[in-house]
């Protein structure tokens, strides 16, 4: 039983996804139970991973370069924890909404299971297939309300995502042509020889793969789809998109840089400066665009571009401290951004408007939700007792260590801009309550069971996480540690 755990983690939501289509009554219970089962399977692996082992599972007992294998190491374990944790909360948050039928849970479970597939698989073509499956489910989730804007946002994302994944697949083709294998670790073994004989092909494949992933993580010039898709989707889906779907791209980028093109080749091809420049540009661009937004969820979407810039800077610095900061910031950003999107979902459902001005007075009606919103935005800005501060601080320290003082200044400037737009939102929340005639919510009758009581629990859990990781950063760092030592030294701690 325990040998088969890695595949069971993927299969459990996948099986539940198809069962959900058969039942109308038990769909939420089934979805929750399947994710809980996956979490149990992951936690059985945790002791082995945290002590530094690597678990390899050969599908159908076909080992070596021929078969497909699943690999659970520090890095993939860390990302799968994030995905399953947030996936569970997203499902719980969606339960009270009447609008979400069986297909919604079907797509949600398919996307969660394929995310874990992307992360665990050691076969690069398999990674592409899972990524495409994930994208298909996500396009449909964005278009789920079937309004004009969501359809357009979904179509835009589909075209951009399709182009991105085509680039990725073409890059895989180049890798296969050079090395004759698709297993990530075997490619890594054979690539140095290929680099000596045909350097241009290696560079070409790296450029193609990196461009493909770059579209998926919305680095500066390729961000076009993100603001629409993230702001127009239903709120739980926005939280999923901003929280974890983008992080899958980050994971693929780390895998490609550190495992496939091992660091030496990566340094020969260009150097870390590519990542630093892209990170800085996305950081400043995201921050300044967020400043100009009127809609609350659109602001949060641009803020995602901003925060991913910080992660890229951390990866670009590439020292132990920088990588720890970057991975820790991935975790923190997931927690904070999903809190914000969950809060925004409640605010939009209560006030009936996406415009930030319409939110005035919300702070007095629902102090608890507003308080959570404030804490998470403080984390986004990077103010000490909240988790966002710790990871930003680590990245700044790493930048000083390497001697890039400019980076620290840029991160501080972007934090100042972030403070401006988040405080503007908070100020609106606490301003005087709206005039009675502007309350246009609940036109088609109440959409939510039992008010927002059930929906607020995931928010409280996430806010507790924000404060916990802010006050005791050691907890988060101990999760990240195996991944970092794997990346840097290719050995177990």
């Amino acid at each position: 039983m325990s040998i088969h755990n890695p595949i069971l983690i993927i299969i459990s939501p996948l099986l539940a996804a198809f069962l959900v289509l058969l039942t109308r009554k038990y769909k939420t219970i089934l979805a929750t139970v399947s994710i809980l089962a996956s979490i149990v399977f992951v936690s059985t692996l945790s002791s082995q991973i945290l002590s530094g082992n690597k678990i390899t599972y050969h599908l159908g007992d076909w080992g070596g370069p021929l078969g497909i294998s699943l690999v659970v190491d520090g890095l993939s374990f860390f990302f799968s924890l994030i995905i399953l944790g947030l996936g569970l909360l997203v499902i719980i948050y969606s339960i009270p909404e009447k609008r979400y039928g069986r297909t919604y849970y079907f797509l949600l479970l398919i996307s969660l299971s394929s995310m874990i597939g992307v992360i665990y698989t050691a076969d690069i073509f398999n990674m592409y297939v899972f990524y495409e499956l994930l994208s298909l489910a996500v396009y449909l989730l964005i278009a789920y309300p079937k309004t004009g804007v969501t359809l357009r946002a979904s179509f835009n994302y589909l075209i951009m995502g399709g182009v991105g994944l085509s680039f990725f697949l073409l890059g895989i083709g180049f890798l296969y042509a050079m090395t004759g294998t698709l297993d990530i670790f075997h490619i890594a073994e054979r690539l140095p020889a290929a680099f000596d004989s045909s350097m241009r092909m290696v560079i070409m494949s790296f450029v193609l793969v990196a461009t493909g992933i770059g579209i998926k993580i919305a680095v500066f010039p390729l961000y076009g789809w993100l603001p629409d898709a993230h702001s127009m989707a239903p709120s739980p889906v926005s939280a999923l998109l901003s929280g974890v779907t983008v992080k899958i791209g980050i994971y693929c980028l780390i895998r490609v840089i550190y495992t496939v093109f091992s660091t030496e080749i990566f340094l020969l091809i260009g150097n870390n400066n590519i990542l630093l420049v892209l990170g800085v540009v996305s950081l400043l661009f995201g921050a300044s665009m967020a400043l100009a937004q009127k809609g609350l969820k659109r602001l949060l979407a641009y803020s995602t571009i901003n925060q991913l810039g910080i992660v890229l800077i951390g990866l670009g610095i590439g020292t132990e401290l920088g990588l720890t900061g970057a991975l820790f910031h991935v975790l923190n950003h997931t927690i904070m951004k999903s809190t914000l999107f969950f809060c925004a979902g409640i605010m939009i459902a209560e006030t009936g408007t996406r415009d930030m001005k319409g939110l005035s007075g919300f702070g007095r009606q629902q102090p608890a939700i507003t308080f959570s919103f404030v804490i998470a935005s403080l984390g986004m800005i990077g103010i000490p007792p909240v988790n966002g501060f710790v990871s930003k601080w680590m990245i700044c320290l790493a930048a000083v260590e390497v001697g890039h003082i400019v980076l620290v200044v840029i991160i501080l400037i972007s934090s100042a801009i972030a403070a401006t737009y988040y405080f503007r939102a908070i100020q609106v929340l606490f301003s005087s309550p709206p005039k009675p005639n502007s309350m246009t919510a609940h036109e088609g009758g109440p959409v939510i069971y039992g008010g927002n009581f059930y929906r607020s629990w995931p928010i409280y859990i996430l806010v507790a996480g924000c404060l916990l990781f802010g006050l005791l950063p050691v907890l988060g760092i101990s999760l990240v540690k195996p991944a970092v030592s794997l990346l840097l030294f290719n050995v177990v701690p």
């Binding site: 297939v129 359809l151 085509s166």
Partner: protein, 115 residues
Amino acid sequence: MTPINISLLVFTIGLYGVMSKNNLIKKIMGLTIMNGSIVLFFISIGYREAGLAPILEKGMTSSIPTTILVDPLPQALMLTAIVIGISVTALALALVVKIYAKYKTLDIQQLSKER
């Protein structure tokens, strides 16, 4: 022109179509062309001039040099990729039908003006 070069050329044609055309259907056609070029690319990686089918029959020794056997793996991969490409195209077309029913236009310039 080797098949690989041709496939890369077709890939850029598809990319051009996706980026520069205003009509949604033409964008989808561009995406399909890109997908087709990738299929051509993979198949030409596995192709061997006057190669044998990679099947081990009775009486053959397993010591045939692999250089004269056609590589079967890219073909297997491309079956998967074709299926994925078709599902993406189908989803895109379904979205276009819905968009057309709502806005009565397929031009992306006019769509971006709509609220």
